[in-house]
């Protein structure tokens, strides 16, 4: 008993003053994912990787938008989105106080414009994603001398491209199958 008392006196107060004083977290803490709209290209990599479906992407081909949605109520703070994002548009923060009085406060939504196919006129891909691809091609030196075709090609939707490729190979008299393409 005396030992216990001595121990208690030695330890002193173990309780921290949170929430009246902030709690420090470790530098690599995995807290609330923070979204940066200006960097997002709506590629959907985060939505594909997200294990609990906290991040989802919806297409609205009528209005020409692809929307990015997160439900913080489903988030497990694994940070897969952070890991797979090609542009650093979503980064885990140190914030952990996510309690909200209303469910809607846990949702975050962003809408990104889609581009139209120059061949059929239908919306088919986020404009920023196409810009990103172009920029990557430019950096790889694939947009100079003789490669301008890429630029045109990117403005055509996969459906039309497939049709064009099929008729091109059809003209050669062979069954249409894109080289390396998936059946």
């Amino acid at each position: 008993m005396l030992k216990l008392l001595r121990k208690a006196l030695k330890v002193g107060e173990a309780t921290v003053e949170y929430p009246f004083k902030p709690v420090e977290v470790a530098p690599g803490f995995r807290g609330k994912p923070v979204y940066d709209f200006s960097r997002c290209i709506a590629c959907g990599a985060c939505a594909t990787a997200c294990p609990p479906n906290a991040i989802t992407m919806d297409w609205d081909l009528e209005r020409g938008v692809k929307s990015w949605n997160i439900n913080y109520g489903r988030c497990i703070f694994c940070g897969r989105c952070d890991e797979v994002c090609p542009t650093g548009a979503i980064v885990l923060s140190a914030e952990f106080e996510l309690a909200a009085a209303r469910k809607e406060d846990l949702y975050c939504r962003a809408e990104l414009k889609l581009c139209k196919c120059i061949s059929c006129g239908a919306y088919f891909a986020p404009c920023r994603e196409l810009e990103y691809v172009l920029a990557s091609l430019r950096q790889a030196g694939l947009l100079e001398g003789g490669h301008e075709g890429w630029k045109q090609l990117l403005k055509v939707c996969p459906e039309c491209r497939r049709r064009q490729a099929a008729s091109a190979t059809g003209a050669l008299g062979r069954p249409g199958r894109m080289p390396g393409g998936r059946q």
Binding site: K3, R30, I76, F77, C78, R80, E83
Partner: protein
Amino acid sequence: MPNEMKPGQDGKKSVEALRSKFGAAILAEAWQTPDQVTLTVELSSLPEIVEEAYYRQGGWLSSVVGNDERGLNGHFAVYYVLSIEKERVPDKNFWLTVKALVPSHKPEFPSVTPRVPAAVWYEREVRDMFGLEPVGLPDARRLVLPDDWPDNLYPLRKDAMDYRFRPDPVAEEENYKFIEVEGEGIVEVPLGPLHITSDEPGHFRLYVDGEYIVDADYRLFYVHRGIEKLAENRLDYDQVTFLAERICGICGYTHSVAYASAVETANGIEVPPRAQYIRTILLEVERMHSHLLNLGLAAHLVGFDAGFMHFFRVREKAMQMAEILTGGRKTYGMNLIGGVRRDILKEERDQVLRLIAEIRVELDELLDLLLNTTNFISRTQGVGRLDPGVARDFSPVGPNMRGSGYARDTRADHPYGAYDRVPWDVISRDGCDVLSRELVRAAELYESLKIIERCLAEMPPGPVLVEGFAYKPYSFALGYTEAPRGENVHWVMTGNNQQVYRWRARASTYNNWPSLRYMFRGNTVSDAPLIVASIDPCYSCTERVTVVDVRKKKARTIEYKELERYCQERKNSPLKS
């Protein structure tokens, strides 16, 4: 189909012994790794072969997997997974899986339970989930499915249902048949609704003669989440590592590692050594916080609440370690197939080493305090005896097993991660009681500290994750870890569309429940919470206890809080009224 591997020497000898005895009944032999073999046997010989392996080859039942393989070979299949630990020399141990195909037009198989009691829960589960009838199984009750679940709807059959489907309830009330105790007879017990308030739900029924427990029955799975079905339907291989971590709120990371290593083994993926060290370190960090929690709860249940507080204070240091190393206090989220996601840097290593030094000093003092509390020893010694004979029949695992004289520890018996590269000792005690189990945990804390220190000092440089491998459809293998509560065994069969075809996760406590009944017998009601806590069933699980007095033919339901109070104070028995 599974890789053909060269068999290990000792495994080969055991298989030869089985072949010489059962000859033509063994139809096929496939080695997934040098220490994992799957024998396909005649359905009618299944019980004999499992019995032979269990009792005469030094086997322990580690899992049973049901599988709907109608789309692959036209049959259902059952796999009995045995850990063969014949000579207790790790090099000679191996995993023997006995597989039998069950015809889809006649979905029944001979029950193994009459020969090997350890199979009882597994076979009840296979019947619930796949509708395969274990002929001769003495216990005809459901195990996992609730009473209001329709007959003839078997959730894990591939063609049964969408994973989101919730059938309409077919029963208004619980109609589970608890066991009946012979002797003075028994009365029907009205069951109240279950309150899933704090902790986890479970329904316990104790049969008492005065203050003494004559027998016990219990029902669990009130919070079965259908995780296996979810993984088969919606997640890819990497995503399941995060779901697996959520199987348990205390020792989740160990499930994530077991799952990941099952997939890696099935596909021949080599995890870089550094990643294996990191996994080992985190598994031990998890064991520390878990054991400290359990020791704290044991102190709490004997009424030593100051001790409880101190254990939790020290436990906080283990939580800090996890936060430093993974960015999360409880869910580490560190695994992907092929390794881990985050390296350990020098600064993090130094912080962890400092914390280890602090914990070691604190532990010495705290354990000295706890063990010199007379109340603690008198309340735990000789209480909740797990008889070694009962243990042999039911294959319990973890500190529960090691407190009864069996030095079974997956880390040593089937080394994985870096456990065979750093020195440490398997802890066991032979008191068979609550005290022994707690002493095992206490001593294991020091081993954990040792393992973490050595791993941090000796981990090799290099990558922590491999990528660029391909998954092989329909290959399967086992993954296993020693969780704080004992051996976890995961069995994974890959599918053909980046999803598991079948994932069977068997948590350690699953193997500890069936023998708990025997541990209750002969003890007083006031010791019941202590006995349950001593198997460390992620604690809780005893929300409501029904006590049936076999002499007065009277049944009463006691709130768990009341029973807990009685356990601490041992005054004013709730049974007297």
